[in-house]
C-alpha cells in the first residue's frame, strides 16, 4: 500500500488514541465493507469540544484518519465540528490511496455520532 510519510508518521505515533475518561459523548461505527470499527469519545464544555479520543480496529489508514478526525475536532464548536469534511482529513495527511478514502469517512461518522449522543443528553 502506498502511504505518504505523513500517514505512516501518524500511524506510528498517533496523538489521540485511547480512552477518554471524562467523555460526555461517544459514537461507535463499524464499516460493513471492510470490517473496520471505530469509537470516538468527546468531551464538550460550553458547546466546544475540548478533548477527543478514538479507539480503532483497522488498517493504517483507519488508525491515522481517525486520529486526525480527533485533532480537527478539538477546539471547535460542535456546530463547526459537524462541518469537517473528508477533504479536510485527507489534506491533513497529504494524500490517501484511493481505495482507502472511505476510512476517513468512517472516522467522521463516528465523530458525528458522538456529537449526536452528546446533544441527546444535553
Amino acid at each position: 500500500m502506498n502511504y505518504t510519510n505523513k500517514v505512516i508518521e501518524r500511524f506510528k505515533s498517533p496523538k489521540h488514541m485511547g480512552e477518554l475518561k471524562e467523555a460526555n459523548g461517544k459514537g461507535k461505527v463499524g464499516n460493513p465493507v471492510c470490517g473496520d470499527v471505530m469509537e470516538v469519545a468527546i468531551k464538550v464544555e460550553n458547546n466546544i469540544i475540548v478533548d477527543a479520543k478514538v479507539k480503532t480496529f483497522g488498517c493504517v489508514a483507519a488508525i491515522s484518519t481517525s486520529d486526525v478526525v480527533c485533532e480537527l475536532a478539538i477546539g471547535k464548536t460542535i456546530g463547526d465540528a459537524e462541518q469537517i469534511t473528508k477533504a479536510d482529513v485527507v489534506s491533513k495527511l497529504e494524500d490517501l490511496p484511493p481505495e482507502k478514502i472511505h476510512c476517513s469517512l468512517l472516522g467522521l461518522d463516528a465523530l458525528k455520532k458522538a456529537i449526536s449522543a452528546y446533544k441527546e443528553k444535553h
Binding site: M1, P14, C34, K55, F57, I63
Partner: protein
C-alpha cells in the same frame, strides 16, 4: 530485514544467480538456432527438463516451460471447452480462482468444493460432484495462505476411478513435499521457480503424454508446439539450479515449529489458522484477536520484519481473503490474520526477535482497539 514472506517469493540463491549469469554472458544462443551456440542453449534447457521430470517421476517430454505458476495454471485449465465441467476448490490461488470466471463466460461449468475448518476438502463431496461432462479436477496441493496440504494420492484414486483428469497447483509444495505424478495419478502439475530460491518469471507445467493440451501462446514450434516464444534460457537454467539445491526442510520446519510454540506460549488470544500437522513445513498463519492485519503488517515492516496478511484492508477489493472465509472463520478473525513463511536463510535469532517485536506491537494495537473489552 528479517524476511518471513517466503510464501510470496524467496531470496534467489547465490548459486542460482551465478549459473544464470554465466548462461547470459556465454550461452546466449537461441535454442532454435542450428549453429553450435544455439545447440548448446538447447542442450542446457533439455538438461533442466530431465531434472524436473525426474523430481516428480515424469518424463522429459511431459514438461512444458512457462513464465511461472500462473501461466502453468492457466494453461492447464485451457484443456476445457464449452460444455465441459470442472471440479475445483474454494481455496485456489488467484491464478485459478480468477480464471474460473473467464471459463464460466466461455460456457464451462464450474463446481468449487468446500473445505473444513482446517482447509481440507471432503473426498465424499468430491465423489458426489462428478457429472457426465466432468473433464477435469483441479486441486491446490499446498495452500499458499494457510499451508494446508490436500491428500493428492487419495484424490488421484477417486479421479482415476472416475476416469477424469487431475491437475494440481503444486507451486507451494514442489520440492517441499514428495510428489510422484504416477502414484498420484496426476495428469497435470504446475510449479514455479521463485518459491524455491530460483528466479521469478519461470515455471513449468507437467502434462501427461496422453493428454492433448491447447496452447495459450501461438507462434513458433517451441515446447513441442505447446508454448510459442524463444525460451527463457537464463530463467530455465536458474530453475534447474534451484531444483538441485537443498531447501534444508528439516531446519525450516524446526524454525517454523519453534515460532509457533513461542507465539502460542508467550502471547494471549492468538489462533493458528489452518491445520496443526497437515501443513507446508514453512508456513505459519496466525490471527491475533482485536488486531487488524494490515496495521500489524505495516508495524512489523517499520521494524524490519516482512510478512503478509489476508486482511480485507490489504486487498484492493476490501474483501477478506477467499481462502480464510472458506474455512468458515468470521470476518474479524480473517481481518487479523498474518502469514509467516520461513526459509533456510532464516535463523533462530530472527525468530526470537520477531516474537519479541510482535508482542510489543500486538499489545500496542490492542490498547487502541475498541474490540477488546478490558
Amino acid at each position: 530485514m528479517i524476511y518471513l514472506d517466503n510464501g510470496a517469493t524467496t531470496q534467489v540463491a547465490t548459486e542460482v544467480v551465478k549459473e544464470m549469469d554465466e548462461v547470459m554472458l556465454n550461452d546466449y544462443g537461441n535454442p532454435s538456432s542450428l549453429h553450435s551456440l544455439g545447440r548448446k542453449a538447447k542442450e542446457l534447457i533439455e538438461e533442466v527438463r530431465e531434472k524436473i521430470a525426474k523430481e516428480i517421476n515424469a518424463t522429459a517430454d511431459e514438461i512444458i516451460f512457462t513464465s511461472g505458476g500462473s501461466e502453468a495454471n492457466n494453461l492447464a485449465l485451457n484443456v476445457l471447452e464449452s460444455g465441459d465441467h470442472l471440479i475445483t476448490t474454494k481455496i485456489e490461488h488467484h491464478s485459478i480462482e480468477v480464471t474460473l470466471k473467464e471459463l464460466e463466460k466461455k460456457g464451462i461449468e464450474v463446481s468449487q468444493l468446500n473445505v473444513d475448518a482446517e482447509g481440507v476438502i471432503d473426498l465424499e463431496e468430491l465423489k458426489k460432484s462428478f457429472k457426465q461432462n466432468t473433464k477435469l479436477v483441479s486441486v491446490i496441493h499446498g495452500n499458499n495462505e494457510i499451508g494446508t496440504l490436500q491428500d493428492l494420492i487419495k484424490i488421484g484414486e477417486v479421479c482415476s476411478e472416475k476416469k477424469v483428469m487431475l491437475h494440481s497447483d503444486c507451486v507451494q509444495s514442489f520440492k517441499k513435499e514428495k510428489i510422484d505424478v504416477v502414484k498420484a495419478n496426476l495428469s497435470m502439475l504446475s510449479l514455479s521457480a521463485h518459491k524455491i530460491h530460483g528466479p521469478k518469471g519461470v515455471g513449468a507445467l507437467y502434462v501427461n503424454k496422453n493428454i492433448k493440451i491447447k496452447p495459450l501462446i501461438f507462434g513458433g514450434a517451441q515446447e513441442n508446439k505447446k508454448r510459442a516464444g524463444t525460451e527463457n534460457v537464463p530463467g530455465i537454467i536458474g530453475l534447474g539450479k534451484a531444483v538441485e539445491l537443498d531447501l534444508e526442510l528439516d531446519k525450516v520446519k524446526e524454525l517454523r515449529d519453534y515460532f509457533i510454540k513461542k507465539v502460542e506460549s508467550e502471547m494471549e488470544e492468538v489462533k493458528l489458522n489452518g491445520s496443526r500437522s497437515n501443513r507446508l513445513c514453512n508456513n505459519a498463519n496466525f490471527s491475533f484477536k482485536y488486531v487488524e492485519g494490515e496495521s500489524l503488517l505495516m508495524s512489523l515492516d517499520l521494524e524490519g520484519i516482512a510478512v503478509s496478511t489476508g486482511s480485507a484492508c490489504s486487498s484492493r477489493s476490501l474483501k477478506p481473503s477467499h481462502v480464510l472465509m472458506a474455512l468458515g472463520m468470521g470476518a474479524e478473525q480473517a481481518h487479523g490474520s498474518i502469514r509467516f513463511t520461513f526459509s533456510k536463510f532464516n535463523t533462530k535469532e530472527e525468530v526470537d526477535k520477531t516474537v519479541d517485536v510482535l508482542k510489543k506491537i500486538v499489545e500496542r494495537l490492542r490498547k487502541i482497539s475498541p474490540l477488546r473489552k478490558k
